[in-house]
Amino acid sequence: MSVRYTRDHEWVRQEGDVVVVGITDYAQSQLGDIVYVELPEIGRTVEQGKEAAVVESAKAASEVYAPVSGEVVAVNEAIADDPARVNADATGEGWFLKLRLTEPQQFEALMDEAAYQTFVAQEQH
């Protein structure tokens, strides 16, 4: 199972011809207790690097950018009902949306796990 990361702290996991997108554990820990998640409509096409969702804590709001271009084929309604799931399990049950890739080469160009960990270490520095 192949996972990639962005500099905006999203993770992307490939599952057949779709990818699952969420925010990283580091991102949820920086935001603190998440109180609200806004998800896109199914069927909308999103462009790489553009806003796909919004995640909010009591005192901060942050955009979730599409790590790759694609069509939204599923969203995780469970986190809209209970945003605490993102804090509890950011890389599992706390996923945000699924995209059908329009430009598959974008996926491979993202950071792998090791590169992302180095990136986070630098950012914390």
């Binding site: 603190g32 207790d33 109180v35 609200y36 804590s57 005192k59």
Partner: protein, 519 residues
């Protein structure tokens, strides 16, 4: 269930109260239920004259059911709101060092003047002949604001600082469009108030942030690089939100003008320079002045305010309606897009602006006079600098050198103590002080922005300094746990903001269970 127990949440206490009382009250801190929990149907706090007989002419659209408002008598109401008031901190009760907010003493003469029937009991649409004094007051206020800033025109109708920003940016856009110049971007320093980017966006502009330099001022090179022929304006706060005067302001203005853009100044901190500095000489094209800050019409728990905008000659023709003119037959209002107002952006507020605030501000200005206002700026700046030098060795001053009316600290002094800026601020509450502004501006880590204002005595400052020094020492000595739990001595301890935002309860609703139990 009685009224008292309803004021409690019913949830078990997370940790024990300092003293458990039967009532839940703690001495002078008295629990107070909501108005809606004190209802007795049919009771009222007013006695009305009899209703004259006659046929109703409500077009058959009478209300069908009860509204649900509670019935209370006057003594209950007076007690309710008195008790609520006692749960508030106020400038009347102590030093209120909220940086950028200017919590200074509110003279009571301002209140008395604003309540004169000739000002308070006057309708905005009365014939001009019956409101000559009101129009004279507006004209006089305009004269003071123009004299203090050196600017040729002033728009008085904006209702607050952010509304003034809207006015300023709209006039700028109108002036640009009149030149046939549709620009797209507005530049805003990183340290700006959130209202600046929000205003720019509301006027249809993209916002671009300009970083600060190592001295807490606008990075001039970055500004010059960002300027271009699609930049409409720079919105700059001066003195800025780091409490510093932008010492390269003339070059900034020159660069902005050279790019064909306008220079908007957020005057939230005008109190630092009033009577000492002439904004017109700084190259400013528009500047809003928060009357509720600099001229001490009270904050009132979040308003009402008033945000007049002084304008350069090039922007003046676009000022919003209405304005006061002195003619042969006395004062009158220009209220419509007629000859002399052909280029106005239109109307920004119902009627003529915040008259009640105008009266208070003019009372304040006249009380101080040209000499007193200058002294206001000097004392405000002196007080802030005194705090800075007396605290420099225990807190970490964010930027070196002289500050203006407020001093910015960052959280380096808390490094490795386990205490955060938030904890430090909350501990200050237990010491009887309102905290300073926290985590703003965003250009330093864990910001603590302290604005003492000119209405604090030296003794008051010395006492505050002693408390801050004591807290800093306590944090350094490793008392993180006590800080995390603060405040302990307030009517409520730290409140769960996450729970509030996850499942918002924004109004009271009758709960059938409560109702039955109460009856």
């Amino acid at each position: 269930m009685n009224e008292w127990s309803q004021a409690l949440s019913g949830k078990p206490a997370a940790d024990a109260a300092p003293v458990a009382t039967i009532s839940g009250n703690r001495g002078l801190q008295i629990e107070e239920p909501l108005l809606f929990e004190q209802d007795s149907p049919g009771r009222s706090g007013v006695d009305l004259p009899p209703v004259p007989l006659g046929k109703s002419r409500l077009a058959g659209l009478e209300r069908r059911g009860p509204i649900g408002l509670p019935g209370l008598s006057e003594p209950q109401i007076v007690r309710h709101f008195t008790r609520l008031s006692q749960k508030n901190y106020a400038i009347d009760s102590g030093l209120y060092p909220l940086g950028s907010c200017t919590m200074k003493h509110n003279p009571r003469l301002n209140e008395k003047m604003a309540r004169l029937p000739g000002f308070a009991d006057v309708h905005p649409m009365q014939p001009a002949a019956t409101v000559q004094g009101a129009l004279e007051l507006i004209d006089t206020l305009a004269h003071w604001l123009k004299s203090l800033t050196g600017m040729p025109a002033v728009a008085l109708s904006p209702a607050a600082g952010a509304h003034g920003e809207l006015c300023g940016i709209m006039t700028i856009r109108a002036a640009l469009e009149a030149r046939g110049d549709r620009r797209r971007r507005i530049l805003v320093p990183q340290s700006a108030h959130g209202t600046n980017p929000a205003t720019a966006a509301a006027c249809g502009y993209a916002v671009e942030a300009i970083p600060a330099n190592a001295n807490g001022r606008v990075d001039l090179a970055a500004l010059k690089a960002a300027l271009g022929n699609d930049v409409a304006a720079l919105m700059l706060t001066n003195p800025n939100t780091c409490g510093l005067f932008e010492n390269e302001i003339l070059e900034i203005a020159q660069a902005v003008h050279a790019a064909g853009a306008f220079f908007y100044c957020d005057g939230a901190n005008f109190n630092a320079i009033v009577g000492r500095v002439r904004p017109a000489a700084l190259g400013i094209d528009a500047l809003h002045i928060n009357l509720h800050k600099t001229f001490s019409t009270p904050h009132g728990g979040g308003g009402p305010g008033s945000g007049p905008v002084v304008l350069a000659a090039e922007l003046a023709p676009y000022a919003p309606l209405p304005w006061v003119v002195h003619g042969e037959s006395g004062f009158h209002l220009v209220e419509h897009r007629e000859a002399e107002a052909a280029r106005t952006i239109g109307r920004l507020k119902g009627f003529h602006g915040q008259m009640g605030m105008f009266v208070r501000a003019l009372t304040y200005m006249m009380s101080h006079g040209a000499d007193g206002l200058r002294q206001v700026a000097e004392d405000a700046v002196l007080n802030a600098n005194y705090l800075r030098v007396r605290l420099a060795d225990v807190l970490s001053v964010a930027f070196p050198g002289i500050c203006m009316h407020e001093v910015l600290f960052d959280d380096r002094f808390l490094k490795d103590t386990g205490v955060t800026t938030l904890d430090f601020a909350k501990a200050l509450i237990d010491e009887g002080y309102h905290p300073m502004t926290m985590y703003f501006p965003l250009v330093v880590h864990g910001a603590l922005l302290v604005e003492p204002t000119e209405t604090e005595s030296k003794a008051s400052l010395d006492q505050f300094i002693a408390v801050l020094r004591g807290l800093a020492a306590r944090a350094a000595a490793g008392a993180a746990e006590a800080f995390h739990a603060a405040p302990h001595l307030t009517p409520r301890r730290r409140l769960d903001e996450t729970a509030a935002a996850r499942k918002p309860v924004l109004r009271w609703r009758p709960e059938p269970m409560h109702r039955q139990a109460a009856e």
